[in-house]
Amino acid sequence: MNNEGIDASLLFQIGPVEITNTVLTTWVIMALCAVVAGLISRSLTLQPGPVQTMAEGIVSTIEAAIKQVAPEHTRQLLPFIGTLWLFLVIANLSGLLPGVHSPTRDLSATAALAILVFFSTHWFGIRTQGLNNYLHHYLRPSPIMLPFHIISEITRTIALAVRLFGNMMSLEMTALLILLVAGFLAPIPILMLHIIEALVQAYIFGMLALIFVAGGIQSQQISQQKQQDKNSKEIS
């Protein structure tokens, strides 16, 4: 077993920029998403067909899921979280295609996504609460918690990246090993597990990202505060 089957292979290089099969697969996925989105957006009507119904179902489901966690910031978080889910599902499942390596079995890709989640947490938090308020939450409930908050931010980001990478890589490696040992058609049950795992991991990654971002913008607290204000107004 060599690293050729597991690691991303360099396809070509544009100056200092190395183009790996991870990047290429990502571009293909992006192109596919862009084309499908363009086709769907062109044919949108008030009387939906099957494709539009499916698209609306996907968007509505994502919106509902985000609304459960961050009811006040659904529209704000939808593009980022929704794209995470869609990209991860497609990227995870792309590994099932013969000759295609899933981008998520590359630590560089999962790390990039984890870093994006890390920064978007702060970005949405600062946008929503302002820099001072956002930074203050690291000192709550006590300034002693500051180091733990910082460690938590780092470790959860690393965990996010490594979890997805480890799961997807291990699945592909398992399938590869079974294929090497048992031969043709033997890895099919593992491939079926791959489908489930791909969906589960995409869901976990997206949901964790949503929870992190919602925690950063204190969405639940804001919602509770608004609810309390509303109740107090009704009582008064």
Partner: protein, 265 residues
């Protein structure tokens, strides 16, 4: 399992670009369509609510109108019932009166019919009695009886009231005057105008005829001739016709007079 910086940076850029693409070409249009549809649905629901409210209002108005109509109907029904009752009572009164009148009329008719029947019976009985008497008297009558009746007639002529005698004489005088100015041989009802026709059931002998003629001339001033006839139908006795007058002393005329008397009364 190496971290490739190029891949790392390109993946970040790629994902951000994908976020922009999907936001621009997928989420926004789809959400807009959903929002438009939801707005349309809300609008339709609002219109449906408005229609439902209108319908409820109309239904309420209709029910109120129905209730009003029901009240009005009951009122009209009561009025009609009252009017019908009055009309019925009036009709019943009229009918009762008509019935009463009809009953009264019927009673009168029955009464008249009874009286008529009774009269008929009496008349029939009298006629039968007369016929019986006539039959009986026919068998027992004879010239002797006739003689007695002639004697009775002669006696009655003598005893006639003066007023009646005057009337008879006046009639005989008028007929005599008329006869003097016209033809003496003219006849009325088979006899001459101033003649006295004496009808008897049996032949009269000369003595009886002379006694009769004398009594007629003296009491009735008969100046014409005397014509004698025989008619067994009178059973016994005489019938004297003088102009329009008839002097009857016979059984047949007495019996008829008896029946006629009852009829008159």
């Amino acid at each position: 399992m190496e971290l490739n910086s190029s891949t790392f940076i390109l993946e970040i850029i790629n994902f951000l670009v994908l976020v922009w693409i999907l936001k621009r070409f997928f989420y926004k249009p789809v959400l807009d369509v959903i929002a438009r549809r939801k707005a349309g649905i809300d609008d339709t629901v609002a219109k449906a609510d408005a229609l439902q409210k209108d319908a409820q209002k109309l239904q309420q108005q209709y029910e109120e109108r129905l209730a009003d109509w029901e009240l009005e109907k009951q009122r009209a029904q009561r009025t009609l019932d009252t009017r019908l009752q009055k009309e019925r009572e009036a009709q019943m009164r009229v009918l009762q009166a008509d019935l009463e009148a009809e009953r009264e009329k019927e009673k009168v008719l029955i009464q008249r019919q009874l009286e008529h029947d009774s009269q008929q019976i009496v008349e029939t009985a009298l006629q039968q009695g007369a016929q019986f008497a006539s039959h009986l008297l026919s068998s027992v009558a004879g010239p002797e009886l006739e003689k007695q009746l002639v004697a009775l007639l002669v006696q009655q002529l003598k005893n006639l009231p003066a007023q009646q005698l005057a009337q008879l004489r006046k009639v005989n005088g008028e007929s005599d005057a008329t006869n003097s100015s016209t033809i003496n041989s003219a006849t009325i009802n088979g006899s001459t105008a101033n003649a006295a026709t004496i009808t008897s059931a049996y032949p009269l002998d000369a003595t009886t005829r002379q006694a009769l003629e004398l009594a007629c001339k003296e009491n009735l001033s008969v100046k014409g001739e005397f014509i004698y006839r025989q008619d067994p139908a009178i059973i016994a006795g005489l019938r004297i016709n003088i102009a329009a007058w008839v002097l009857a002393t016979n059984l047949q005329d007495e019996l008829s007079g008896f029946v006629g008397f009852n009829h008159e009364h």
